[in-house]
Symmetry: C2
Subunit: 191 residues, 2 copies
C-alpha cells in the first residue's frame, strides 16, 4: 500500500446505509457520501464506477453478515428455539427489509460489475431462503404451525412485523415479547 486511506470500508458502508435509508435510491449521491467521509467526490470513483456498483457492493456486504448469523439457526434442534433465535436475530437488523427493497430499484444496467453483483445478491437471497424454508419445514414436521397457512405468509409475518414503528416508545423487551405473542397465538383472547 502506498498511502493510507482517509476512510475505512466500515465508515463508507455505514454512511451508505444511513443515506440510503434517509434519501432512498434516487436521493443517494456521491457528493453526500464524499462530504461525510471528508474526501472529494472524485476519490470515490477510484473504488466504484457509479452508485449502482457501490450500493450493490454494500448490499452484498450486508447480506453476507446477515447470512452468517442466520446459519446459526441450525444449532437449534427444536422449532421453538429456532423461532426465538430468528426473532432475536431479525430485531438486531430491522432495516434489512427496507434496504432490500431499495436495492431492488437498481435496474438492468450495462455495467458488468453491477450485473455480477446483482447475481451474487440473488445467490445470497437464495441461501437465506434455504435456511428459512428449513425452519418452516421443521415447524410443520413438529406440527407447531397451522397447516393451512402458506409458507410465504409465515416468513412474511416474521420479517414484516419488525418494521412496525414503535411510536410510543414501548420498551424493547416488552415490544418484542408482544410481537412474538401475536405471531404465535394472536392478539385475541379466546372469549
Amino acid at each position: 500500500m502506498a498511502r493510507e486511506r482517509k476512510f475505512s470500508q466500515d465508515e463508507l458502508f455505514s454512511a451508505t446505509k444511513e443515506f440510503l435509508l434517509i434519501h432512498g435510491y434516487e436521493g443517494f449521491t456521491f457528493l453526500l457520501l464524499a462530504e461525510r467521509l471528508h474526501i472529494s467526490r472524485g476519490a470515490l470513483y477510484k473504488y466504484y464506477d457509479n452508485k449502482d456498483e457501490l450500493i450493490t457492493s454494500y448490499m452484498i456486504h450486508e447480506l453476507k453478515q446477515l447470512l452468517n448469523r442466520l446459519q446459526e439457526v441450525k444449532q437449534y434442534v427444536r422449532f421453538d428455539d429456532q423461532f426465538d433465535f430468528l426473532m432475536e436475530l431479525i430485531f438486531t437488523m430491522p432495516e434489512v427489509q427496507q434496504l432490500i427493497i431499495i436495492a431492488n430499484q437498481i435496474s438492468a444496467n450495462t455495467n458488468e460489475k453491477v450485473k455480477n453483483n446483482k447475481e451474487e445478491l440473488t445467490q445470497l437471497h437464495m441461501s437465506m431462503y434455504q435456511y428459512l424454508s428449513d425452519f418452516v419445514r421443521l415447524g410443520r414436521q413438529e406440527k407447531k404451525l397451522k397447516e393451512n397457512i402458506p409458507d410465504g405468509l409465515i416468513l412474511g409475518f416474521i420479517f414484516q412485523t419488525i418494521a412496525i414503528p414503535n411510536h410510543y416508545g414501548v420498551p424493547h423487551t416488552e415490544w418484542v415479547a408482544s410481537i412474538k405473542e401475536i405471531i404465535s397465538h394472536g392478539m385475541f383472547t379466546n372469549k
Copy 2:
C-alpha cells in the same frame, strides 16, 4: 371556463401515485408527470408551485378518501365486525402505508401552501387515529384483545401485514383469511 384541460385531476393524481411508488420522493419529477399527461412541464406550474405542493395535495386527496371509508366502521357495533371491516378496507388500499412514509420525506418548506397542506395532513392523520383508537378501545371493553399488548402494536400489525408481499401468488381470499387468522389467533397450533 375558457378552455378544456387536457387532463383530469384523477389522471393527475393516479399518475402521481404510480410514480411516487415506483421512484420515491426524490425520483419523482414534473417531467415524468407531464409526459404521462401529454402536456408540457410548464403547464403543471399553473396548478402547483413545486412538487411538494403537488404531492401534499395528492396525499390530502388520498387520505380524505381513506378517512371517508374508514368512518363507516362506526356502523358496526361489535368488535369482531369492526375488525373484519377494517381488514377488508385496508386490503383495498395496500399502498397507503408506503405513500404516507414517502410523503413524510417532505421537509419543512418555505412555501406557505405546503405548510398548510402539511398541517391539513396532520389533521387527517389525527382523525384517522381517532377511529382506530375507538376500535381498539371497543376491543378492550369487550375483552376481545389481550390486555398486555400495547395499542400501537395492535394497529401496527393490522396496517403492516397488508404490505407482506404475496410472492407465490396465493389467491386473495385465502391470503386475507390467513392474515386474519394469524392476527387473531397466531400461526402456532396449541400442541
